[in-house]
Symmetry: C2
Subunit: 367 residues, 2 copies
């Protein structure tokens, strides 16, 4: 499959993405000090606008506070510096929702920074981050959160599972090769785009030193549940074996070593292009829906709030796995049935569920 | 009213804009030599990417060939120069259609230039050209076609007509004041954005020396027809007097003198900011649907092809003139009835109809 619609998968509700993925806003809020420290470390009296890019922006809602604080940090160092914000995502992203939120025409998580600051210019780039997005030496700070685990292509289907965390043997090796190549490719493009002295702050899903990853921290493994629900539908004859095989998410979660290699190995093209790893740490941010459930104790309310966030980033892959010869209504019914079955598992054992975020937080400098 | 949805009014058909306004592509094709000459006159060995902006781009289809030829012209002068294309329009424009066409995911008038050229970067800016869109001194060439007649606000309703060409007295004076202020404002923003030595090529609707303007060259006056159809619906009790009053397009067509004043008067802020008028000419481009009709002679086919182009840029204003207390279905029915009545007039006297384009073609330099 191609990378279309994977950097930010969308639910069909206009401007609902940031709300359905409110946990990613918590992650960005936690990463904000890294961005502000990176800005403080830069020469803010250079000529031209300060250029900030949000790579894999979706509708821009989740990073709105980060952008505002970044503007404030630049202005604290140079109060007349112009500021350019470039939002990037796949061509198929909903840019109409993005501009509506950024221009204050639709509700975002806070008022748009455009009303509070002069000399701020916004644009959007509808290209995958597996291409060079911006001219050489034009970017001061590139930020990305919860986006770079999407591969540029699915190297193969995974037998008996839906995600590379459940892969082994040749299939795992194929995902590792793809992930290594993709990570090097996207860093190499960023190396060209960055000005010397520019920084990347990348907040990417990872497997941490304790083997934890998204939805695999305590209780049931979220990806095992995704898989088990499809297996149950296969066993019930609701989908075919071919369809089950295709339910493979084109994702890979690097560990710290995998993230670090091209930034530390002097022979890698990325290193030779000037990128240096300044810091990398991992952190778990707890699932906000799980935390809410611990307060209110209502399993139905938990399921109702939680399933849409799972659906927001899995539905397009799963829809694509269904036989296209089924008519659209039949496919929609199967997808609804799938998430209803997942919700049923949450209702039955709510304390087993939750999608804790496990991220690597990287700061990278261009020499 | 605000400027929302006026720089490029949309019909509801996705990616249909360029096709419904194919005449504007003919106009852009005719203006292309001015752009290529402007590029040839510039220093193409300057550092950084060559930055080209299409101001009021709609879905980008109409200018696709122009952008490709501009890339080729820059590369002819400097084969390694990177090229940045920035598409700008209102926040409410359909940017999803734009990116789909530019990335070749939906059909445009020719294959996308992105597949043919390396080192070309595309972004979109969802802000009105009545704001500064880009950082200071960042733009090499700003192009705009058939967009800058939309005012930033409607100064008043026009008694007994739908467009300023039918205004008089205080109402005409109010439109003239608004148009003068808007023209100066948008030029002043461009003066900041342009690099020294940069150029604007602006192709704007005008009133020419013979008093011709859009749809007023021969046969019936198009705006008189727009007005007459609403008057007939008012007389038939289908709309109210209040509604009729609000059917005023927030547009003004400058003449050559009005376009020239701020660029030639040494005391104007635009002149003082460095903008100089290099050339201005006017030209009529004949209505492609009228020309087709002269070939095929089928009035029904003429009306069927012609009415959508009128509808593409008038519908949102006219819909906004209807009483919002009417339910949406009733408003849609009235709008359908309006364009059906216009079509009926075309059927009855096809040789009286057509929308010849009358434009001023300006080349402006920043010192």
């Amino acid at each position: 499959m191609t990378a279309t619609n994977t950097e930010a998968d969308h639910i069909s509700m206009r401007s609902g993405y940031w709300l359905a993925t409110i946990g990613t806003k918590n992650v960005i809020d936690g990463a904000t000090p890294l961005v502000l420290d990176a800005i403080d470390a830069m020469d803010l009296n250079a000529s031209g606008a300060f250029c900030f890019a949000d790579l894999g922006c979706a509708d821009g809602g989740s990073s709105m506070a980060l952008v505002r604080k970044s503007i404030e940090a630049v202005r604290a160092g140079n109060k007349s510096r112009q500021f350019q914000v470039i939002y990037t995502d796949q061509p198929g992203n909903d840019y109409n929702a993005l501009f509506a939120i950024i221009h204050g025409l639709e509700k975002g998580p806070e008022p748009t920074f455009l009303d509070a600051h002069e000399g701020v210019f916004v644009s959007a780039c509808g290209s995958s981050f597996y291409r060079q997005l911006l001219p050489d030496n034009s970017l001061d700070l590139g930020f990305s959160s919860t986006a770079m685990h999407w591969l540029s292509a699915k190297p193969c289907d995974i037998s008996g599972h839906v995600q590379a965390v459940g892969a082994s043997g040749c299939e795992l090796a194929a995902f590792q090769r793809q992930a290594r190549s993709d990570w090097e490719t996207l860093l190499h493009h960023r190396a060209k785009e960055l000005k010397p002295g520019g920084r990347l702050v990348l907040v990417n899903f990872c497997r941490d030193q304790q083997g934890r990853y998204l939805g695999h921290t305590e209780g049931a493994d979220m990806f095992d549940t995704f898989n088990a629900v499809w297996q149950a539908m296969l066993a019930a004859g609701q989908i075919t074996e071919d369809e089950y095989q295709r339910m493979t998410l084109p994702q890979y979660y690097n560990d710290v070593a995998e993230f670090s290699v091209p930034l530390m190995d002097g022979s890698s093209p990325v290193y030779r292009a000037g990128l240096r790893l300044e810091s990398i740490t991992t952190k778990v941010v707890e699932c906000p829906y799980k935390l809410d459930f611990r307060q209110h104790g209502d399993a139905a309310r938990f399921a109702e709030n939680y399933i849409p966030t799972l659906r927001s980033w899995t539905q397009s892959t799963f829809m694509g796995g269904l036989n296209p010869q089924r008519d659209a209504g039949e496919r929609a019914t199967l997808i609804d049935r799938y998430y209803a079955a997942y919700a049923q598992r949450v209702l039955e054992e709510p304390e087993q569920h939750g999608m804790d975020y496990v991220h690597a937080y990287m700061v990278i400098r261009k020499e």
